[in-house]
């Protein structure tokens, strides 16, 4: 994995992390809370390797443990995220209602590679793609729990049920027009 930024952490971010870590001292399960708070503050909603290094140092957690936790939970991103998130459900119900085509069309609309090289053509894998201009991130999830409305697409944390290629296109156009 390439390192998005090798620059040392800005002092104000260091101060923020110090503060968060301080607030969690002595409480079990602190690591998840710390990582979540730090990621939420980042403008690109991700944890850079430098950030992880700093948190490891402050919490006295082994680096590998931190990396393990950050990659285990789908919640944490190690790559910068786009401003808008399009999340497509690839669960069984949505799959049978055509979410694969939906995903392909969104990828085409946003100009993202249709077949990514390391997935070996297995699109059941978790997918996370960001446009080069950092405007959109496309990701897949296993299930939203909204199978009755299949296929389901989540655009900026808003659930759109019975989605079609057209409705998703419209959502993306609306976001683009709103800028």
């Amino acid at each position: 994995m390439s390192t998005p930024s090798q620059v040392p952490l800005p002092t104000e971010e260091q101060a923020y992390i110090d503060n968060v870590v301080g607030g969690w001292t002595g409480r079990p399960g602190a690591l998840l809370g710390i990582l979540e708070a730090v990621q939420e503050r980042n403008p690109h909603k991700y944890l850079s390797l430098e950030t992880l290094r700093y948190i490891a140092m402050k919490t006295r957690t082994p680096l590998s443990r931190l990396y393990s936790v950050a990659t285990f939970y789908a919640l944490f991103n190690l790559q910068p995220q786009g401003e808008n998130t399009v999340c497509i459900c690839r669960g069984t119900a949505c799959h049978t209602r055509g979410s694969r085509n939906l995903l392909q069309s969104v990828r085409l609309d946003l100009g993202l590679a249709v077949e990514d090289s390391d997935s070996d053509g297995n699109d059941a894998d978790k997918l996370l793609l960001t446009t080069p201009d950092q405007k959109f991130t496309v990701r897949t999830v296993a299930c939203f729990g909204q199978c009755a409305m299949a296929p389901v697409v989540e655009v900026n944390h808003r659930i759109c049920g019975h989605a079609t290629e057209r409705t998703v296109q419209r959502e993306i156009e609306t976001i683009r027009a709103g800028e």
Binding site: L52, R53, P62, S64, R65, L66, T71, F72, D120
Partner: protein, 237 residues
């Protein structure tokens, strides 16, 4: 600290064991054999390999002997056709998941996975092979990490964290994407916390972690060095 004694039955034989012991520990202390892969004397058990499954009478489901604490009056069966079937399946699934090509492996003939497969009579595999594309990390001056042979038993993770205290290794991602990783997904040779002690190499049951300079069949692991260290230090799990 006087331990309370519990009486249990292992394969019909009445055994007196200490409270807090696992089925595996009680069995070992009384000369009963339960096959294991991920368990290593002195490390915390994780129950990852599912080879040590045993039957407990009165309960339908099987229990991993390495993580199940004994209870008064428990009656354990360590060997039965059903257990052999499940153990064989566990080993087959391990073989299918990575590229375990024994013929060209440094640990051929000295591999715990291989001898387990032989002991359980796994001469064919009933599942489709995965053939994942995996890397080999040669960056360390003395050791090699070959993901193709890894069974994710996490012995290296535990021996490094618990005995050496360096915690260089951990498991990243999950499910089929799970990999052993050093520090923040760095090359092993660049891991600054690694003390080059080689405990992970000796603890590894397969050829996933090996010393450099050995050809096929030449890497003989000295598991005894790890376990004797545990006993010398009196590590309590």
């Amino acid at each position: 600290m006087a331990q309370k004694k519990l009486s249990i039955r292992i394969d019909g034989q009445l055994i007196s064991a200490e409270e807090g012991q696992t089925i595996l520990q009680a069995a070992k202390a009384n000369g009963k054999y339960i096959p294991t892969l991920c368990a290593l004397d002195g490390l915390t058990p994780v129950g990852a390999c599912r080879v040590c499954l045993v039957e407990v009478s009165g309960v339908d489901r099987l229990f991993p002997a390495c993580t199940t604490p004994i209870q008064e009056g428990m009656s354990v069966t360590t060997n039965s056709p059903r257990l052999t079937r499940y153990r064989r399946m566990s080993v087959e699934l391990l073989l299918v998941e990575r590229n375990h090509t024994c013929a060209v492996c440094v640990s051929n003939g000295h591999c715990e996975l291989q001898s387990m497969a032989t002991a359980l009579g796994v001469n064919t595999v009933g599942f489709a092979y995965n053939y994942p594309k995996l890397s080999v990390d040669m960056s360390h001056p003395r050791f090699v990490l070959d993901h193709n042979r890894c069974i994710l038993c996490t012995r290296c993770v535990r021996v490094c964290a618990e005995l050496e205290g360096a915690h260089v290794w951990d498991v990243t991602s999950r499910g089929i994407h799970a990999r052993i990783v050093s520090e923040l997904n760095e090359k092993w040779g660049q891991a600054t916390s690694c003390t080059n002690c080689g405990k992970c190499v000796q603890a590894c049951p397969t050829g996933a972690l090996a010393e450099k300079g050995w050809a096929v069949e030449e890497m003989v692991k000295k598991i005894g060095t790890v376990t004797s260290l545990v006993h010398r230090r009196g590590v309590q799990v």
